[in-house]
Structures are given as C-alpha cells and as structure tokens.
Symmetry: C2
Subunit: 185 residues, 2 copies
DNA sequence: GGTGGCATGTAAGCAGTTACATGATTTT
DNA sequence: AAAATCATGTAACTGCTTACATGCCACC
C-alpha cells in the first residue's frame, strides 16, 4: 500500500492533519498497513487535494502552529472503496527476531536473551495499543472490533509461545557456546 | 534488512547463485526476512565480492546458461554475525487483508469472502512451505527447527482463527449491505 | 536553559523495482 | 508454436527516507 492509499484509508475514518496521519501510521492502529514519514505524507496530501480526493481547511491555534485539517471527499471515498475491491498484495511478516533465532547456535546467549525480551516487549506494547482502541472514541464499529479482536488473539498467542518456548531457544545458544561441556556430560 | 544483509544471511547457510537467492527470498523460508528482485541482488553480490565478503566461481552447465555460485568468506561470516548482535529493527506485520476487514461494513460481502479465502490459502501455502523444510536436506539444526516450529504454530493459530471467525466478518458486510432487512427482522 | 512535543514543508540522496536485453531448454 | 524455467546483468525510474529549515510552547 502506497502512502497515497494510506492517507485515504486514515481519512476515511475521520479528519486528520498530516502530523496525525504520520502518528497513526507509525504508532497507531494503522501501523498494520504501512509506515510513512513526513517527507512522503505532506506531498501525498497536497497531490490528493489537487486531485479533489480531499479538502483542506486551516485551523489557527493559539500558541501552537496552525493545523491543516484534511477531509476526504466523496470522490476520495469512492476511490478508496474501489481500491479495496481490487486484488490486494499478500500479507507480509518481516522478522529480524526470527533471523536471530535461526542463527541461535552461532550467537552468544546474551544476544538471544536480549532479542527475546525485546520481542516480548514489542508484543506487549502492541497488545496495550490494541486494547486501548475502543476507549479513544465511542464510535466503535463492527469491522474495527473484528480487526482488534483478531490482533489481540494473534498477539496473545505469540506472547504465550515466546514465554513457553523462549528458554529452549536460549538453550540452543548456550549449548553451542559450550560444546566441550555438553560433550563431556 | 537490506539486500546486502539478506545475501549474507542466505549464503551463511550454504552456497547459492543470484537466481537461487532471489527464489529463497521471495518464495522460500527467507521470505520471513526480506524480498528482493534481480535488479538489487546482482549488484549487491558484485559489491560483496569486491569487498571480500563472498567469493564466486563460474560453473558452466550443459544446455543451461552457466551459473555463478557464491560462497561466503570468513570476513563475510564475521560481518553477518556482528550485524545480528546489533539492535535489530522491530518485527513488522503488514496486512492488506486487515484493511479490508476494518472496512467490512463499507464493502460488498463478496469482496470479504474473496479476501478471506485468499488469506486462508496464503496461510495454507506458508504452512506447506514450512512443513517441507526438513525434507529438503538432512542438515536440520536447532535454530532452524525452533524457527520452523514457531512459524507453524503461529500459522496454525491464524488459520484456526480465520476458520472460526471468518463467518462473523462476512456477516458484518451482509448486514451493512441490507440494512432495511436487518432493521425489519 | 535544554529537551521534547506540536506543526508544516522542501531538497537531496538512495535503495529498490520494473523493464529491457539475451539466449538455450523444457514443458504444454 | 508458445510459454515457462533457468540464468545473468544493466538502465531508467520511482517512491521513500533523511536531513534540513522554521518556530512556538510546555515541562523539567
């Protein structure tokens, strides 16, 4: 999904500024779909405005710099829905953690321990984020609930697996680091 | 993970050609870590050779174009292990499927059905791939086993969840498509 | 008085993809 | 006869990140 599509997806859920879109895409619930930085979001929004997919209104704020709040138009909504009906790219899971796990026998046990703790913390954080979704605003809808529950279920499973089998992974590194001991036993 | 790192990771598991590296990275077990196309792999390998991280030997083949088989050097191995010890980027999951699920109420039920079937098929395929790993060659090692088992466990959970809750997702779209009927009942 | 959050935007650079170029063999 | 697989490589293009530019406020 391109930054353009990401903006449309987020704006179809409500008005937002470029700043907010970036936050949603890197930290918020839309991090499931794509990350994006300022350098790509602002130009994308400007282009979407020129194409009539979104409208912008400037909101001056006391003390803070003025915000440019974008709203999706009907044309934008149509394009977004249409894009969802077309065949999508397959889901992808990219895991630096699993690369470390794959090479467990070649790495110091401490590296494994750190990687495991880091991954667990990451899953915890994602779980915390997902649990907080309905609290933010009252307008929970069915699709959002389903997606959240799916995410929570997967993350809980992952977390339990890491807790149950993490020690085995560390043991691989320990055994490899002390082969003479293991052979002597 | 860059293409450079990907090549090192794959070659640390055994010799390979650029063609094979691309296959492993897009279809094989290394698709967990990064995708890459020819246009990025061949230049990366050439650079790695110039840096002394890999060596290449040409193998003429009867009938087929000659293969350029790359082997990792000790310097390459060291660099790879060192890179794994440094803090890694967090794991990411990008899901066009979940974007469709999130917007279930705005989409035709058929789109939901297709997306669900497609996702299930994808998980099935990944499961098939993971199950076949130990068959390919005898040298299964502990890290590879752990990683494979982790992948299989997660995929099985995902598949069961989709089978158990998929109907609920389709119902969201159906209810939204026929609101008068739902209200009348 | 410094760090960090809010807020928008541009320009340079890079990593990667796509498309092209080539060519034999095997499969349909 | 066409399409797919094996196999390498280059060139153009694109989309995104990083760094820069600017500025005010709140908190520590």
């Amino acid at each position: 999904m391109s930054v353009r599509g990401l903006c449309l997806a987020i704006l179809s859920g409500g008005d937002a500024t470029g700043y907010e879109i970036r936050k949603e895409s890197t930290e918020g619930r839309f991090s499931y779909f794509d990350d994006a930085s300022f350098g790509s979001i602002y130009p994308a929004l400007a282009r979407l405005e020129a194409e009539g997919m979104v409208t912008a209104r400037e909101e001056p704020q006391a003390g803070k710099p003025s915000r440019k709040v974008y709203s999706i138009t009907q044309a934008g909504r149509d394009e977004f829905i249409r894009s969802l009906c077309e065949p999508q790219a397959p889901d992808t899971f990219k895991s630096p953690f699993l690369l470390i796990a794959l090479n467990a026998a070649k790495l110091p046990p401490d590296v494994l321990r750190r990687a495991l703790e880091r991954r667990k913390a990451q899953v915890h954080e994602e779980l915390r984020l997902l649990s907080g979704i309905d609290n933010e605003n009252g307008c929970t809808h069915a699709g959002s609930d389903w997606t959240r529950d799916y995410g929570i279920a997967c993350m809980n499973f992952t977390l339990r697996y890491l807790e149950d089998h993490g020690e085995a992974l560390i043991k691989i590194a320990e055994d490899a680091a002390a082969p003479s001991q293991a052979a002597a036993e």
